[in-house]
Amino acid sequence: MHLHRTQNGTVDVIRLPKRLTMADAATYRHEIRDLVDGGHIHLVMEMCDVEFVDSSGLSVLVSAIKAARGAGGDVVLSGLTPQVQALVELTRLHHLFDIFADEQSAVAFLDNRVAA
């Protein structure tokens, strides 16, 4: 399964699937790494479709932000459901990621950062 990506200026939006779990974690991790290696370093992880995440899914997000920041970019999250938000807070990942209510806000944030 491939991740769905759209480009919005200098920002790429990755629409994460319904389930972000161990079964596909390695594939997604490599796909995002390849994207970052290809110069797409400002990423929004749009999570409005994500109904379920496990710790392997969370590790995909952490891997992505480490890769992006290592290349001078960043990863932000948007559209978290209450359950996913609870898991992110439980695991303290809200200290690592900027989190936005929707994709537009997230894109605007990264756009402004790139322009600054």
Binding site: R19, T21, M22, A23, D24, F52, D54, S55, S56, L58, S59, V62, S63, K66, Q83, A86, L87, L90, T91, R92, L93, H95, L96
Partner: protein
């Protein structure tokens, strides 16, 4: 009455087990959020078995759930006896919050945080994770 599900360790079977557990939790009176949390913990326990004991495509896991008074008991067991000593499930990660940049160490934290009790036992070649969740009155 104990209800049991036996799954071969295949990627498609984990969501099936997860939905099965969540459905029973709901029918036993657990609120939606609690049921979701139990489901997440069961997935983490299965993941642990997949990661440390088998890998996908090998072996099976049994999941049992039953009611004891105001508590739901859930048991996730895998059988390592055909895999020798190298297959023994590793100790759970310490129950501490990993640094945010860490890519590992969150599974057992999630389990310990989202159920009322969680223990892991190794009995012979079997690794068993037992979870307890109180059902609100």
């Amino acid at each position: 009455m104990k209800q049991l599900l036996l799954i071969n360790i295949e990627p498609d079977n984990i969501p099936r087990a997860a939905e099965w557990i969540e459905s029973i939790c709901r029918s036993e009176g657990l609120p939606e959020t609690d049921s979701y949390q139990v489901k997440t913990c069961v997935v983490e326990a299965i993941n642990n078995a997949v990661e440390h004991a088998y890998g996908f495509g090998k072996g099976a896991i049994s999941i049992g759930i039953w009611r004891e008074g105001r508590q739901l008991m859930i048991e996730i067991a895998n059988d390592n006896e055909n895999r020798g000593s190298a297959a023994v499930t590793q100790d759970p990660e310490p129950v501490s919050v990993p640094v945010p940049e860490s890519e590992r160490g969150r599974g057992w934290l999630i389990i310990k945080s989202w159920v009322d009790d969680a223990v892991m036992d190794r009995l012979g070649g079997r690794t068993v994770v037992r979870l307890t969740k109180r059902v609100p009155i």
